[in-house]
């Protein structure tokens, strides 16, 4: 009897330890999605070039994550990239003339969308579109431009 008790306690401790280890791994090592708002609204933005922006990338305002990208697709009518993003309903007073730009966290980090507040009296709401957008800075284009400039500057 004593022996089965200690086996049961040992097994219980082992399983608890294993579960807490799994919990630690899923919550602490992965940083990805801190954003998990229940109530959101969806807005649309068109970019000339999205670089390597992916769905689930964060949408940040002043560096604080307030939403995320839900889909990235090519719009055949306007011939540019259409990005859908959801924003936490808690932030429902973002001016509708705010501009969205694709930024990179760190030198070679992942890309995210940064919103810069505008001055309009009307706010973004479900289904509205952000008109002012700035494309991602693509490193290759930048180097290309630099080389062209350096070449012409030398003459």
């Amino acid at each position: 009897m004593q022996q089965t008790r200690s086996v049961e306690i040992g097994t219980g401790l082992f399983v608890l330890l294993g579960m807490s280890a799994l919990f630690f791994l899923t919550t602490q090592t992965t940083g990805g999605e801190k954003f998990s708002a229940v109530e959101t609204y969806e807005v649309e933005a068109h970019f000339e070039n999205i670089g390597s922006l992916k769905s689930r990338a964060p949408v940040a305002m002043s560096g604080v994550t307030i939403g995320r990208v839900t889909s990235v697709s090519f719009d055949p009518l306007t011939l540019d990239a259409k990005v859908m993003l959801v924003i936490d309903s808690q932030y429902d007073q973002i001016p509708d003339d705010s501009d969205a730009s694709i930024l990179t966290s760190g030198l070679l980090g992942s890309q995210y969308i940064g919103l810069q507040a505008g001055g309009s009296e009307t706010y973004l709401e479900d289904g509205s579109e952000i008109y002012f957008t700035q494309s991602a800075i693509v490193l290759e284009n930048l180097i290309g431009k630099f080389l062209v400039n350096a070449g012409s500057g030398g003459d």
Binding site: G10, T11, F14, V15, G18, M19, L25, T26, T30, G31
Partner: protein, 257 residues
């Protein structure tokens, strides 16, 4: 020439037959599993204790040093590119996706797999399994299924513990001893590890748990009932488990990429 062809044919034939018997054996264990879990959960708990809790020491010690050496190697090699801050990301990805499941499976085969097959083999050699059949007790259900299920349950937990301890070891080596910034260590890790990486490790650990436990039980059950046969079955458990784990690891990684 004819003899050679016949030998080759016999070998292939025997291999395919064994492989098929192995699959049927797996299905047989699965068929008996729900009843054992429902009616005799105590048997499974005892085996989780034997395979899991008793393997904790070796798993934790090895995990600590594997993590530590990853931290050391990661630091000294990344420092050449002035990227030693990324050591957290490197260690976490390596442990979660590859080293955690694979090394734990190899250790598990050595610690718990051999124990299972020698125990079952010895039961067979001393006619305990036949005695059970005489008493109308199905040895597959009473002996093999709980041991198999115990290993399957224990493996994912062991892998998770191994990985956590490994991270802890890497943290001690790179942050406390080598002076990597603690914030950079965790932030770089969290920025590059995705929930899918954790999922890949969990899937691998589950598959390896099934394979290693199944092989151990199979080898024990089919051991030649002599002292030498039991010894050979134990060796085969470790050898075949190691090969199977490494091949499956490659296949799962290829599928999940």
């Amino acid at each position: 020439m004819r003899a050679l062809i016949r030998d080759t044919y016999d070998t292939v034939h025997e291999f395919v037959r064994t492989f098929g018997a192995f699959q049927l054996f797996f299905l047989r264990l699965l068929r008996h599993s729900p009843r054992i879990v429902m009616r005799r959960p105590g048997l499974v708990v005892t085996q989780i204790y034997n395979s899991g809790a008793l393997s904790l020491v070796i798993i934790m010690v090895c995990g600590f040093f594997v993590g530590g050496v990853l931290g050391l190697q990661g630091y000294s090699n990344l420092a050449r590119f002035n990227a030693e801050d990324s050591v957290g990301a490197v260690v976490a990805l390596a442990l979660l996706k590859e080293l955690g499941p694979v090394i734990t499976a190899l250790l598990f085969a050595g610690r718990a797999g051999t124990a299972l097959s020698s125990e079952i083999g010895l039961m067979k050699a001393t006619d305990q399994l036949s005695a059970m059949e005489m008493m109308a007790v199905n040895p597959v259900r009473r002996i093999l299924v709980p041991r198999f299920l115990g290993g399957v349950v224990a493996m994912p937990f062991l892998v998770a513990i191994f990985t956590c301890i490994g991270l802890f070891g890497a943290h001690i080596v790179s942050v406390d001893l080598l002076g990597v910034d603690v914030g950079a260590f965790w932030q770089q890790m969290q920025a590059s590890v995705d929930i899918n990486d954790v999922r890949e490790g969990v899937i691998k650990s589950f598959v390896f748990g099934v394979v290693v436990s199944l092989l151990a039980v199979w080898e024990g059950y089919n051991a030649i009932p002599t002292a030498e046969g039991v010894g050979r079955a134990t060796t085969r458990t470790v050898v075949i488990s190691a090969i199977a784990v490494l091949i499956l690891d490659f296949m799962i990684t290829a599928v999940m990429l």
